[in-house]
Amino acid sequence: MSDQGPELPNFQPEAFPGAILAGAQSRLIPYAIPLRFFVAASIFQIVAWGLVAYGHVDVSAFFGGYGVVLAALHALTLGVLAMTAMGASYQLLSVATGVVLKSLLLCRLSSWLYIPGTGLLVYAMFVGNTHVMLLGGVLVVAGLALFGMTIGNVFWHTQSLQATERHGWVALISMALLVVAGLSLIVDFNTGFLGVGLLPEHAKLALSHGLLGGYGFMGFLVMGFSYVLVPMFTLSPTPNPKLAGVALGINLAGLVLAIGGVLFGYTAAMIVAAVLGLAGASIYLHLMLKALRTGMKRRLGLSFVMVRASWGLFMASIVIGGLAALVPLDFNALPLFGFILIFGWLLTFLTGILQRILPFLATMHAHKLGRRAPRLSEMGHQNITLKMHALCHAVALALVSLGIVTGLDLLVLVGGGLGVVGAVAFLWFALGVSETVMTLYRTEEQSK
C-alpha cells in the first residue's frame, strides 16, 4: 500500500484495542473501497426487506427451495451482512492490527466480483434460474476468496488482538465450508446429486449451510470484531483474552455439534449444541457488558441501543434454534429461528455498529486532508434517518416474528414494508455521510 505512513518501531497495539489509532490515519485506505461495500449493503438491505414483504405469503412456511424467500435470505446474508463485513474488515483490520493490506487491487477486484455476483445470485434465486444462480454463485465465491486471502494475510502477520484474530480464522474456515456447501446446493438444484451414497440430503446441507453462515462465518466475525469495537466506542479496557478464548472454544464446539446433529439427524446433539451455544454466548456477553460497565463513556447513543438489542436477539436465536430442533413445525420454529438469527441478531448488530463506523471514518478522512472534521452527529441527517431506521427496524422485527409464529401473512407484509422504510432511511444516512467525505475530496481537488 503506497499511502502507509511511518510508524514508531516496536509499537504493537496489543495492550488496548484503541491503541489502533496510533497509526490509524496513515493506514486509511481510499474511501471509495469501504464506501462501495457500505452503500451496496445499504441498498441490499432495502432489497431484502422488500423481498420479505413481496413474498410474505411464503415466509412463515419456508423450509427451503429457491424463490422469493431464498432470494430475501441471500440479499440479507450476502448483500448486507457479508458485504458490510468486507468493507469494515478491509479498513478496520489494517488499522487495528497495524498490518498493511497486501494489495488494494485485490480489495477492489473482490468488490467488482462480489457486488454484481450477489445481485445476480439474488435475482436468479428469485426467478429460479439455476444456471444464472451458478454464475452468480461463482462470482460471489471468487470475491469471497479474494477477501479471505486479504484478511487471512492480515491475521497471519498480526501479533496483536489475539481474540479477534482467532475468531477471524474460525470465521474464514467457516466461510470456506459455507461456499462449498452453497455451490453444492446450487448444483444440486439441477443434478440432484445430493442424498446419494454418503452425501447429505439437500435440506440437511441447506440447514448446515445456514448455520455455517449465521454462526460460523458472520457470527464469529461479529464476535471477533466486538472485542475491538465495543471497547473502542465505550473507552473500556480490553476484554479478558482468556475468557474470550473460552467463549470461542465453546461456541465452536456448539457449532460443530449442531452441524453434525443436522447432517446425521441427531436431535440430542442439536440440543446439546444449543446449550453449549448459550454458555459460549453468555461468556461473550459477560465480556461485552463488562466493557459497557467499566467504559468511560456512559452515553452511547442509539447505536448501542441497537447493539444491546442485538445481543438479546443472539441469545433468543440460540433458544429458538434449540426449540426448532425439537419441534421444527410448531409455531414455525425453523423459519423463526432463521429470521431471528439473521435479521435479528446479525442485522441489528451490524447496522448499530455501522452507524458509528461511517461518521468515524469520515472524520479520519477529513483529518487526512487537513480539514476541520465535521461533527459526528451532523453527518447523514442522523436525527431523522437513524431514529427512523431504528424504529422501523424494531417494529419490523416484531411484526415479522409474530407473523411467522402465528402464520398471519399480513403481519409479515406490514413488517417487511416497515423494514423497507427503515432501510431507505439507513441508505439516506449512508449516502449523507458519504456525501460529506466526497465534498471534502472534491474541495481538495479544486483547491489544487
Binding site: 505512513g5 511511518p6 510508524e7 514508531l8 516496536n10 509499537f11 497495539p13 495492550a15 488496548f16 484495542p17 484503541g18 491503541a19 489502533i20 489509532l21 496510533a22 497509526g23 490509524a24 490515519q25 496513515s26 473502542m232 473507552l235 479496557p237 480490553t238 468511560m296 463513556k297 456512559r298 452515553r299 472524520t363 479520519m364 483529518h367 487526512k368 487537513g370 476541520r372 472534521a373 461533527r375 459526528l376 452527529s377
Partner: protein, 153 residues
Amino acid sequence: MEYSLNICKTLHSDHMATVRMLEDLEEALSKIGRNSVPNELSPELTNLLNGLVAIMQTEISSHFSFEEENLFIRLEQMGDMPMLSILRSEHDTIRPLAEKLTEAIETLLAGGMTSEIWASVYDMGMELAEREVFHIQKEEMGFLPLLEHVLTS
C-alpha cells in the same frame, strides 16, 4: 487501561473528569431543549455550568497546552506522527469553542438569560461535548498508550 506512569495517570484522570462533566452537560441540555428557555437556572444546572467553566479553564486549556508544549514535541522528535496532527487540529477547533462557550455561560450566570444566549450555550455546549469526548476517545485509545510505551521503553 491501567497506566504505570504518573503523567499518564494524571492525563487519564483529567479525561475521566472531563468526560463525566460533558456527559452530564449533554444530558442536562437535552432534557431542557434548545427552544425551551428556562426562566431561571436551577441550582443543579448552575453548579453544572460553574463546573464546566472550571473544567474549560483548567482541564481543557492547561491540559492542551501541557500536551502540546511537553508531550507532542517529544513524540514528534521520534518521527512523523500523523496522529499528533489530528490531536493538534482538534485542540485548535476545541480551544476557541471552549473560550466562546465560557463567555456565553458567564453571561448566563450573571443573569443575562435571553433566548439567544440560551441557544448559543445549548449549541456550543452540545458541540463541545461531542468534539471533546471524541477527542478524548482518540487520546485514550491512541495517544496515552503510545506515550506510556515510548516513555517506558
